[in-house]
């Protein structure tokens, strides 16, 4: 069980705690990742492996750095001028922060779904077709149609919108918008999908639908989800990582984390004593 104690987070010790096998299995692997926002040390010495075709949930109280970590994986932190990332973060063994890595290609491989649904002010069709178009993924219109349809289908939205693909994406309900954003993300067939509290702006029924969808997507994608809801983490994820004050406190199989947490902080959080 990979576990990093909050107190002993020195790189040398934590590296030894992760077996080599773990790292080979991992789709995304973080070693001693630190993030600074200007003076603020937002993420401290994080070691974490994310396995392929699993849902990994990142939980923890507000401001614990879980979203920051998520945004490191597809380098969305690049957009913040004062953010600085140190340490090693690999995708299939390739260093994400290597100079040779093209951030545009990286983001095509690591898609993202945001907290608030953010469909572009375009038609539903154009929303989904946007990614394939910019990456030149379709040879012709038929192929593009196919990608759009498949993605909408996969996102469980096709039935609801197939008669109004030309209508504005912003006209859909909140839950539909979020599934549209998921369809948009999977249209570029990424390997990893990052989800930053994808259900926090949705009502319970829409949430249930999205959670169901996440479970289905696991078959083809590696998913990392940040969530505030421990029930959600328990429902959709196979592995759970608990962050506290910028440090990774504990990571393990979801069942183990929720039934038998090793660290007192984790226990305190999941039993609702703080957070």
């Amino acid at each position: 069980m990979a576990q990093t104690s909050a107190a002993v987070a020195a790189p040398a010790t934590s590296a030894s705690q992760n077996t080599l096998a773990d790292r080979r299995l991992a789709k995304v692997s973080a070693r001693d990742v630190n993030v600074y926002y200007g003076e603020k040390h937002a993420l401290k010495h994080v070691d974490l492996d994310i396995r392929a075709n699993e849902v990994t949930a990142l939980i923890g109280p507000s401001g614990c750095g879980k979203s920051t970590f998520l945004r490191c994986i597809n380098r969305m932190n690049d957009l913040i001028d004062i953010a600085r990332v140190a340490g090693s973060l690999t995708l299939d063994g390739d260093d994400i922060y290597d100079r040779k890595i093209d951030v545009v290609q990286l983001r095509a491989r690591v898609g993202m779904v945001f907290q608030k649904p953010n469909p572009f002010p375009k038609s539903i069709y154009d929303n989904v077709a946007y990614g394939p178009r910019i990456h030149g993924m379709a040879k012709d219109q038929t192929e593009l149609d196919e990608i759009v349809m498949t993605s909408l289908e996969k996102a469980g939205l096709l039935a609801e919108v197939k008669d109004r693909l030309d209508e504005a994406g912003t006209g859909l309900s909140g839950g539909q918008q979020q599934r549209l954003c998921i369809a948009r993300a999977i249209a570029v067939s990424p390997e990893v999908i990052l989800m930053d509290e994808p259900c926090s702006a949705l009502d319970p029924i829409a949430t249930a639908k999205v959670e169901e969808l996440i479970d289905e997507l696991r078959e083809n994608f590696t998913i990392v989800i940040v969530t505030h809801s421990m029930q959600q983490a328990a429902r959709v994820s196979q592995r759970t990582a608990f962050f506290h004050l910028g440090e990774l406190v504990e990571v393990g199989d979801t069942e183990q984390i929720f039934t038998n947490p090793q660290h007192p902080l984790t226990q305190g959080y999941i039993t609702g004593r703080f957070g």
């Binding site: 394939p132 993924m137 379709a138 498949t150």
Partner: protein
């Protein structure tokens, strides 16, 4: 889904690379276009400023010649003991001419002497008159005095006109060039600071024309504008922001203000002509009327700025004041206004800067007249700096191009000072709630 992944992630690697190359090329092109747009705009600004400063800087100096003058009562036609008016009526220009002739004793013959005298400015006698008026006893004595030269000589000496009389466009003939050369060699021909330009009013003669009249006219106009638009603007803003009920009447006022802000300035000029001049019978060309027109024009700007800074004062301050039992007016005068004042002042200064640079509406109310005297009050006929620029730009004399540019420099200096004041004010009192 799996098929799609294979199908799309498997295309030949070089196809992906070449596509990426194209995308990055487009990215660079786009970024370059943005930079180029800024460069073009700033380049134009630089071109404009450089061309104006290059043309105008020389107007602040004036070519002058130093001559030895004998204050000959015979030439002057007045005696030292005469009263002021008689003293002032003496032939001082004749005195200056005589001084020049005596420097070139071999010049004889009426035509030649006239050509020599033409080197001097028609206002060459003024300095002598001032000397005599301040001390009549100089009559009879001999002094060294600096005289302004005519605009042809000035322009030639500054290099705007060809020195070679054979070249087209030259305004001095060979003999005049010879005299000029001899004065230069004698070290008595130099460029000195042009006090006349910054202390006198307009004139038909470019060497005598100055901007002071226009500066004073601008001052009175902007002063009237400030005195009227500041209280009016602040009162309106306070009413709309703090007191006015939300109803159709206040909506109407708001819509009105927003639209007035975008009405072309010349329309305000038409209003001034039809109302202030024709109906109220106010005098043409007066800074007072100019100020009234500019007030109506700048009022929306000030109101909008004042409202924005009143809005920026957090409601908690208002609640605190009301909670202490102060009346609404006390809340405004004691708490809200002082906090909003820096913002209001900044907006006002910017509005005044705009009023200072405005000319179109003032053309309508007759501030384009040719006015020599420096105005002594807001009811006197006057012109303003930007209109002076317009008037001089219309003149055909080469020397006025230089004067126009110089007047623009003066105008830009005033604007720069005002904008700087606004920036400093904003910096000093900037507050984040």
């Amino acid at each position: 889904m799996t098929e799609m992944v294979e199908q799309t992630s498997a295309p030949a690697a070089d196809a992906v690379t070449s596509r990426l190359k194209r995308r990055y090329a487009a990215e660079r092109r786009f970024q370059f276009m943005g930079m180029a747009a800024i460069a073009v705009a700033l380049g134009f600004l630089a071109l404009l400023l450089v061309s104006i400063f290059a043309k105008g800087a020389s107007a602040f100096v004036q070519t002058q010649v130093q001559l030895e003058v004998t204050f000959d009562a015979g030439i002057l036609g007045v005696a030292p003991g005469a009263d002021r008016d008689t003293l002032a009526s003496g032939d001082y220009l004749g005195l200056a001419k005589a001084a020049l002739w005596s420097r070139f004793p071999d010049v004889s013959g009426r035509a030649e002497k006239r050509q020599l005298a033409a080197l001097l400015s028609p206002s060459a006698g003024d300095a002598l008159r001032d000397m005599v008026l301040s001390d009549p006893n100089v009559i009879g004595s001999t002094r060294k005095v600096w005289f302004p030269v005519s605009d042809s000589v000035d322009m030639t000496n500054k290099g705007y006109l060809p020195r070679d009389p054979a070249v087209e466009g030259a305004r001095l003939n060979a003999a005049q060039m010879g005299w000029l050369q001899s004065l230069e060699d004698g070290g008595v021909l130099t460029k000195r600071f042009n006090w006349q330009f910054v202390t006198t009013g307009d004139s038909r003669d470019p060497t005598q024309a100055g901007v002071w009249g226009a500066v004073v006219g601008s001052f009175y106009s902007v002063l009237v504008t400030l005195l009227l638009s500041f209280p009016l603007g602040v009162a309106t803003a306070v009413y709309l922001e703090e007191f006015a009920p939300k109803n159709r009447w206040t909506d109407l006022i708001e819509v009105n203000i927003n639209n007035l802000a975008a009405v072309p300035s010349i329309v305000f000029g038409l209003l001034g002509l039809a109302v202030f001049l024709a109906v109220f019978g106010l005098p043409r060309s007066a800074p007072m009327v100019g100020g009234l027109v500019l007030t109506l024009m700048t009022l929306p700007t000030i109101i909008i700025a004042a409202r924005a800074s009143l809005k920026a004062v957090p409601p908690s301050i208002r609640e605190a004041a009301l909670g202490m039992g102060s009346s609404k007016l006390q809340m405004v005068t004691d708490h809200v206004l002082p906090l909003a004042l820096p913002g209001i002042l900044t907006g006002t200064i910017l509005g005044m800067a705009r009023a200072l640079g405005e000319s179109a509406p003032l053309l309508m109310i007759g501030m384009v007249a040719f006015i020599v005297d420096v105005p002594s009050g807001p009811m006197d006929p006057a012109t303003v700096l930007p209109v002076q620029v317009y008037l001089w730009a219309d003149s055909s004399e080469r020397a006025f191009v230089e004067k126009t540019s110089a007047a623009i420099i003066v105008l830009l200096l005033f604007l720069a000072v005002m904008n700087l004041a606004a920036i400093l004010l904003r910096k000093k009192f900037e507050r984040r709630w």
